[in-house]
């Protein structure tokens, strides 16, 4: 899965967008991982995620699911995908994970310099990095860059460009507000790393610039 690696947008916007993965390794530390993953998820809740999903439940934070249900769903091999909208929260999260020392793999995805700085502040040395070398091939077929800011927040491409355009239209015409629009866009993302807070800001920036032909 590389679904968080290639998010697009301005540096300013991406500074408020960090995806985090809690990942037991198959064949290495699956056995006995349940209480460890559960403890790490409790730390996630304490810090306050912008979105989250456990692979054993597959309901993101905007699907009427309680923390108790998420914690109760965790079984052997459960992975957790989550997203945070500030540097301070990521630092606090990594500190919490480091103190917990549960031995489960953690990955933070974001602006590489920022993530490395934060890790260093917490006293963590990167073991491995995966760097985005961008998009290649027939890029002329892609939707416009401003739409890709939204669609690439779901790396599996579950959020269609047409849905983004439709939500911009609905926000522009006052049918829904920018937060409601962000919920609509977050729902198809089955991995729970669509960041509705960033999406809301983007909707507020973009909707004044769009011309609406259908009301």
């Amino acid at each position: 899965m590389t679904h968080s690696l290639h998010r697009e947008g301005s540096i300013e916007s991406l500074e408020k967008d960090y995806a985090v993965f809690i990942y037991p390794a198959r064949g290495y530390n699956y056995k006995g991982c349940v209480p460890k993953v559960r403890h790490l998820v409790e730390i996630v809740y304490q810090v306050g995620p912008a979105n989250m999903i456990a692979t054993t439940l597959r309901k993101n934070m905007y699907s009427d699911v309680t923390p108790e249900e998420v914690l109760g769903s965790i079984k052997e091999g459960c992975r957790v995908f989550t997203v945070f909208n500030s540097r301070e929260k990521i630092k606090s999260l990594l500190q919490g994970f480091k103190d917990a020392d549960e031995g489960i793999s953690i990955v933070v995805s974001g602006l590489i310099d920022r993530v490395r700085d934060i890790a260093a502040e917490v006293g963590l040395d990167p073991h491995t990095i995966n760097l985005s070398l961008g998009i290649h091939g027939g890029t002329e077929h892609l939707p416009p860059a401003e739409i890709r800011q939204f669609t690439t927040m779901c790396g599996h491409a579950m959020v269609s460009p047409k849905l983004v355009e439709d939500v911009i239209r609905q926000v522009k015409t006052g049918k829904i507000d920018s937060w409601e629009g962000s919920w609509v866009l977050a729902k198809p993302c089955a991995c729970g790393i669509y960041n509705p807070h960033r999406s809301q800001e983007l909707l507020e920036e973009l909707s004044p610039l769009y011309v609406v032909t259908r009301w």
């Binding site: 899965m1 968080s4 031995g103 073991h127 995966n130 961008g134 849905l163």
Partner: protein, 242 residues
Amino acid sequence: MPAIDKEKCTGCRICQTYCTVDAIDFGHRKCKINQELCTECYVCLRMRVCPEDAIYAEELVGFYKQFQHVISDPVENHGVTGVTGRGTEEVKTNDVSGRVKRGWIGLSIDMGRPGLGVYLRDAEKVAMACAKAGFKLAPQEESPLAALMPDSSTGKLEDGCLDYRLLSVIIEGRCEEGKAKDVLRALKKVEKEVETVFSVGLISRVDENGHCRALEFLDELGMPQPHRGKVNPGMGKPLSTD
């Protein structure tokens, strides 16, 4: 695979808004799924986007059809790797698995991403170009695409699968650091031969100074220096020190 009951369809076209790859046609006041373009991602079914409940699932017949769905729909769990999404752990557990060791470079080539989809014939072109340049493609236990690859040393896929379209699929593998430049050069060449896009992730162990040597030759190849990345800070146990 998804289909639309034309008796129930009122032609509201909401499903077209949600379709990830523009695979729903509209004509004679009805919507119809274009089976040539559909990648079986199941967003329309899972989200129950049709207010008339006109979209239903038909049985997926044959291994390739099921493969198409399992890889395109991130909710599905890949049988061999045991991982959801596109079915690969990639760098996320490298602190434990040691899949990419010091002196080696890993690549994850995300075919069809972002959002265009990919015919497996294009994935084959890229896999073969990389293999020819010295890239060792990941085996079936690590990468679902290898299930369609009788010989991973060539990257050639089974002929029967080539016309299947997926929302995206990852070509994964590794090479010695010294060969990484050749592999990236091969990617630059083959990008002109595919009908879609691909996003590239470069995976590397970090040396004691926090350095990744592969970055030094990106400028020479005309590839942009990365500003986004994933960091595995080595919290997994038992820790791989290779």
